[in-house]
Amino acid sequence: MADNKKQIWQFPWRYSESILVVFGLMVVGFALQLTIGKFDFSLLADPVNVKLGSAIIVFLVLFSFVRNTQFYQWFSGVPFSVSLISALLILGIAMGLIPQMVKLDPHAHDFWTLLGLRQVTSCWAFVLIYFVTLLSLGSLIIRRLIKFNWRDYAFYLNHIGLWILLFASGLGAADIKRYVMHVMEGETEWRVYSDNDDVLDLPIAIQLNDFVMEEYPPKLTIIDRESGEAQPIDKPDYYQIDEKNPIGKIGIWDVAVEEYIHEAVRNSDSTYTAVPMPGSTPAALITAKNRETGDVKKGWVCGGSLAQLYMMLPLTDEYAMVMTQTEPKRFMSDIDVFTEEGESTHAQLEVNKPLKIGNWMIYQYSYDSTAGKASSYSSFELVYDPWLYPVYFGIILFALGSICLMWSGNKKKGVKNDVE
């Protein structure tokens, strides 16, 4: 209970001082927000972030020469770090409860907007706390590195990994560029639109050789012929077409798929033939039997597409069986990518399978969803992030640190002095 005897601001500083300092930082942050507006991350764009990053490291090294002072001990110690983490926790909750805006309404003057809490990551309070956390964590790491001990490997992995991750992701944020490029099949494109709808020339060109889309077999359902709504309205019943399991039930109807054609084209006599081509759609020959009346209906159903009409199977005057629109299973663009240096790369892009070229990553982004697999273009997202390698290095260290936590838990001194 020595805590109570010491005056506030008298060293050693503990929670009271730490909380007050962090509270002060937040007040300064909100004051800045109210007076000069949000923190503009683009100010940090290269080369400012490199200089600032170097300055932080130089500062941390110089600062470590006074590591035996009580101020340094406090700045790199537990109460201050807990207070900083708590501040991030509180700002995080604000971010999690108040809907965050990508672009602010310039006419919005409500309380949350003025305090910057609709864009917490560019709010001065958040930026200041982040910055001081980087310094506090950095000075702790240096203090412990000077007294290096192999047995603290988990400490080093976790703290250094986190520090690198925070450092590279925060300072690098300003250098990230993201564009969407639309490329017609058979053509080459290097222009994108910026956020302000200006046309930009990128140092990367993409040639789209082919766009391929695979679809899941569609579902069958029963609709009201008048309203078109799937029945029953509160919880529509579907049967997923599955060639290995062609018998199903929808409501009071037993359904049997007699024939299923995944890429079908309609014949003049309203039957279907398999023709693999962009405009084809799934079609199925269905027998439906009403379990209550014994009524049997048989006929083709087809969900239709831009290229051909849908076909339904009337069951009664009121209801009909229809096929749903297909859902994409996989879409793939076969592309060639050319860089300014004259290099070219061939790739097949899919969701979850991007292509990395230098500091650029190219993603399968979208396609003409109304045309589905007949889409005449494919869209790509191009992301430029020169800080990705340090971020991944931080992630790897931090991940190794968490494996240490899982394996070693909290095996240290502890047990006895806890209850004293």
């Binding site: 990553m361 070693s408 909290n410």
Partner: protein, 261 residues
Amino acid sequence: MTWSEYLWFAIPAIICWLSAAGIVYISNKKNLANALMILGTIIFGAFIVGLWIGQERPPLRTIGETRLWYSFFLATIGFVTYRHWKYDWMLSFSAVVATVFACVNIFKPEIHSTNLMPALQSYWFVPHVTVYILSYAMFGAAVIAAFIQLSRLNKGKEDAQLYAFIDNIVYVGFGFLILGMLMGAVWAKEAWGHYWSWDPKETWAFITAAAYLVFIHMRLQQYHKRFVLWMIPIAFILLMFTWIGVNYLPAAQGSIHVYSN
């Protein structure tokens, strides 16, 4: 092999798992519990391998298929964790949760064929979710222990062993939590173009991690014991919010983590 053979593997596996979950509490039958747990996991794993061969693709494309992996990895990692830390409840927990996932595939067979959207078809999906489930188990156990310790604290009879248990379980759970988060970040870079977008689910995961960090760091010193112990249930509520509550938040409309239609 197809889903029609599922019952022949699922039921024996479930019997093995549930028996192990009970027998582990009989002190001289630990080896039997180990053997049953391993046997159940092998039987269940054999079905996954069979399905993989039968379908000529890794079973990762439907919700039913991912559920197979949850069961398999929960049983496997849960067993390894139990062997390492010797917490009997860990074996029971992972056996029971693995059984629950296996049963969903028996009783709701229509979800075998509920298709996954392309963004979810990734090798990261299953490990990302599995390690989170295991961290929930650890943190859940920590909540119970924290309440016991709080009531002891009120009587002035703290238990050093219990403190050691709480610290350990929170460290292990935090390791799982961070691993899940980092795997999510790497996956997000592959699928969405950025490793951290402050999507509402990510924001709440950040909040949860921060709350456990407060606990872990405050435990390094001896101050404010009651507050520190209360951090565990508070952090757990935040964790539940991250898991379930986010879907109902106005701030989360349009979140990329909300997949239901």
